[in-house]
């Protein structure tokens, strides 16, 4: 028994220390706010192809993307991350403005249209999602479906729709984009109108989708991957793209950036190249998230209209990023006062 005890005591440390490889260019640290279930396979594919070990840090549903951005800000002086793979371009814009990033123009970026790239090369967009409505088929007939954002103010939908917390994630992106597109006054009026119309606030897009699936609300505003996820679980829901009435819907590309002072810069560049390559975009298009590729050579998911057919909100990412920081105090108040 004594021998067992000694073995038990020593073994874990032995394994752990042996498992830790010496720091080399054979590993890379990536923070990603894209859902683990979609990002992990892509990163593992990179690992398989190059033999470079990838250390991943994921985000949780509640802190979506804001958490990692703030973590990178906090670690600015002692960067421990090499690559930031964000699920929207706003956070990388903010990080660029705060001097956390280093420019890197990947050769693969040549295939990405310019409007999805930072002109100074600090970040590059790829594979995106769109904002959609997810509606409960049992509670609404197709004639009754909401077709545009302003339908959320319609009296017939009073108390029957949900939105995720606009302080986080893609909802914050969307709201900031509206402020830029409509102007402060109209956007504020819209938000107040939502509250007056009995908006139900959820903690995340995933929760909104769940509520719609349960029938707690009739429809909600989410990203297309959240909609597809609940559809695949067999919920009685359908996806409606709110781009026909008015301004169009928001397109949110992923964005990848190199961190300034990254511990493994060479491996980081290889990872960025891979993420911008057709292979990665194809994987993201085929997965449940059905992300729309930006490289014209990659076939888009059949379940969604091609990018050319979608009416998209015009977005200047730098402007939206600034606007988002500006409206944060207002949003905090808006969220708090119910």
């Amino acid at each position: 028994m004594r021998r067992w005890l000694w073995l038990l005591c020593v073994l874990p440390f032995f394994l752990v220390t042996c498992g830790k490889e010496p720091p080399s260019s054979n590993e890379v640290v990536v923070y990603t706010s894209t859902d683990q279930v979609f990002s992990e396979p892509v990163l593992q594919e990179f690992e398989r192809r190059t033999g470079i070990k990838v250390h991943m840090v994921f985000d949780t549903e509640e802190t979506k993307s804001t958490g990692l951005m703030n973590r990178l800000l906090a670690e600015k002086d002692h960067p421990r991350c090499d690559v930031f793979w964000s699920n929207d371009p706003l956070r990388v814009e903010i990080l660029k403005q705060k001097g956390v990033l280093a420019p890197y123009r990947s050769p693969q970026a040549a295939h990405i249209p310019d409007r999805f790239k930072d002109p100074e090369g600090y970040w590059t967009g790829f594979s995106g999602r769109i904002r959609v409505f997810v509606v409960n088929k049992d509670l609404l007939s197709p004639a009754e479906y909401p077709r545009g954002l302003r339908d959320m103010l319609a009296p017939r939908f009073k108390g029957a729709f949900a939105l995720a917390n606009p302080l986080f994630g893609t909802t914050s992106f969307h709201v900031a984009a509206l402020f830029v597109a409509w102007g402060d006054e109209e956007a504020r009026a819209f938000l107040e109108g939502l509250k007056k119309n009995g908006l139900k606030l959820a903690s995340s897009n995933g929760e909104v989708a769940r509520w719609v699936a349960l029938g707690k609300v009739k429809f909600g505003l989410v990203d297309n991957d959240d909609a597809f996820s609940v559809m695949e679980e067999g919920a009685p829901v359908e996806m409606v793209i709110p781009d026909q009435n008015g301004e169009g819907t928001l397109f949110m590309p992923n964005a990848v950036a190199l961190i300034k002072g990254a511990p493994h810069p060479e491996a980081a560049k290889k990872l960025i190249d891979f993420l911008l390559s057709p292979v990665a975009e194809e994987m993201l298009a085929r997965a449940t998230c059905r992300q729309i590729p930006l490289n014209p050579a990659v076939p888009p998911p059949p379940e969604l209209p091609p990018l050319s057919k979608l009416r998209l909100l015009e977005v200047d990412y730098a402007k939206v990023a600034q606007k988002m920081e500006e409206i944060l105090p207002y949003l905090r108040r808006w969220v708090a006062e119910k």
Binding site: L8, H55, T63, N70, T288
Partner: protein, 501 residues
């Protein structure tokens, strides 16, 4: 001997002082109460309080009849049922909520995704924390105290006036534990869509990296933790548990209706808390691609084993070695700090750890930070258990050994270790169960690429096929079960309470 003593002291200093000290200083420095004006925050706080209170009350109502049935009557296979009633501790409350969301039909499902559902899930997840102390205390009551009562009054009167008062401190201790765990739980309420105070703080910290804000918001939680810590001392006194497993005499209820009703109650509890969730998860997991779940879980599983196992062994080992080496006063000091760290919600503790160790890159982005977090939060369990074991150890034998002139190492190996090894085993098992099911602390402290299985379950819960989540949860439970069983088999006491090498 002096070397071991030094090492033990260094361990305690490194593990407990930095985070607790950092928290203390941070709380003192910029304490602003503006968060009290935040309506959402206040709502979450009162919600959480009521939920925890409700869950605790229900757990007590659940545990009393069950403990009476299994300890105070000749119910068949009582020990088996008691062990089965501990199984919910192997589940993440999130996984129980997940399982029940599969079981319930649509109209009732809305009730689950509401505060009622949260109270339900809390109750069936945490009631073992009330049941087991109560059960053990029922088995430990000196049978003559009850028998002298039985000669004077019928069984029910003896039960209420002799048995229950004896068990009261343990019932209260268990209820306190249940309350704290319910109060600080984040995973299940988040899934069920009910805002709780823990997730508010987590959001403030993890989303906004607003350390000061998070600390300020943690004040109510920290105060609750402190309150329990202060109450624990005089209330729960010394731990007089010495269960007489093979000798269930004393007060025994023999009535047939009691057996039948009790048996039914037991059956329903086990069904709701253990068998239904487990089988539903298994069904869901195997109806999906279980093989992919296994491959995905391989690395996190190994990491959980290493981190949690390593932490358990370290905590247990230091606790064991420090018993003969440190004076009672010093042990009191470390126990007090450990108790405080245990009752502090894990979110708060994580904030303190990051606050302090953030300046040390070697610790911050490595597994050492997670290890320190686990040791700090759960060290109390091993320390308390092994201190109790030491209290029962015959010091006379130790003195005889010293007089015989042998050195400390030999005495420790051959005199101290053998009778204490079952306790060591229990301490490791309990530490492992709690640490492996810990989500919040781990999700904040894990090194890049080094997530444990519990954290992986959490991060993967977004937009992941539910069959995969189910499979991972199932694996987590099975894994903990296997490790704990192995541990207890290796170090189980023999019939006379000692273990032969």
């Amino acid at each position: 001997m002096r070397l071991w003593r030094l090492l033990a002291r260094v361990y305690f200093l490194l593990v407990f002082l930095p985070p607790l000290g950092a928290l203390f200083l941070a709380f003192g420095k910029t304490l602003s109460l503006t968060f009290l004006k935040d309506a959402i925050y206040l709502r979450a706080l009162s919600n959480t309080f009521i939920l925890a209170l409700g869950a605790t009350g229900l757990s007590v109502l659940l545990s009393l009849p069950l403990a009476t049935l299994l300890a105070k009557s000749r119910f068949p296979l009582a020990r088996l049922w008691a062990v089965l009633l501990a199984v919910p501790l192997l589940f993440l409350p999130y996984q129980t909520a997940l399982a029940w969301s599969f079981i319930l039909p649509a109209p009732v499902l809305k009730l689950l995704f509401s505060p009622w559902g949260v109270v339900f899930i809390f109750t069936i997840s945490f009631f073992p924390l009330v049941f087991w102390p109560l059960y053990l205390s029922f088995l430990s009551i000196p049978r003559e105290a009850e028998e002298s009562g039985l000669l004077l009054a019928p069984p029910l009167k003896v039960f209420t006036r002799v048995t229950l008062p004896y068990a009261k401190p343990y019932l209260l201790g268990g209820a306190g534990l249940c309350f704290i765990f319910s109060f600080t739980e984040i995973g299940a309420p988040t899934y069920l869509g009910v805002p709780v105070i823990g997730s508010e703080i987590l959001t403030r910290f993890a989303a906004f990296y607003d350390l000061q804000g998070a600390l300020n918001a943690s004040l109510p939680l920290a105060i609750t933790g402190l309150l329990f810590f202060l109450l624990e001392r005089p209330f729960v006194k010394r731990w007089e548990i010495a269960p007489r497993w093979r000798d269930p005499r004393g007060l025994l209820f023999e009535s047939r209706p009691f057996f039948l009703l009790g048996g039914l109650f037991l059956g329903v509890t086990l069904l709701v808390a253990v068998f239904l969730p487990l089988s539903v998860l298994a069904f869901k997991a195997f109806s999906g691609d279980f093989w992919s779940v296994l491959t995905r879980a391989k690395s996190p599983l190994l990491r959980t084993f290493l981190y949690t196992g390593g932490a358990a062994i370290l905590a247990g080992g230091v606790a064991l070695v420090s018993q003969p080496l440190l004076k009672e006063r010093e042990k009191d000091l470390w126990d007090t700090l450990a108790l405080l760290a245990f009752f502090l919600p894990s979110v708060v503790l994580a904030v303190g750890l990051i606050y302090f160790w953030g300046r040390f890159p070697l610790v911050y982005s490595s597994w050492v930070l997670l290890l320190l977090g686990l040791l700090c939060h759960f060290g109390f369990l091993t320390q308390r258990l092994l201190r109790e074991a030491w209290r029962r150890f015959d010091k006379g034998g130790l003195e005889a050994a010293y007089l015989a002139g042998r050195g400390f190492n030999a005495i420790f190996r051959r005199i101290i270790l053998p009778p204490l090894s079952p306790w060591f085993g229990y301490a490791l098992a309990i530490f492992f169960i709690f640490a492996a099911n810990e989500m919040t602390l781990s999700s904040l402290l894990y090194p890049p690429g080094g997530a444990t299985l519990a954290v992986t379950i959490y991060t993967l819960s977004v937009n992941n096929p539910l069959s995969v989540s189910a499979g991972l949860c199932l694996l987590n439970t099975l894994f903990i079960l296997v490790v704990v069983s192995l541990l207890l088999c290796l170090l189980r006491p023999g019939a006379d309470g000692s273990r032969s090498a």
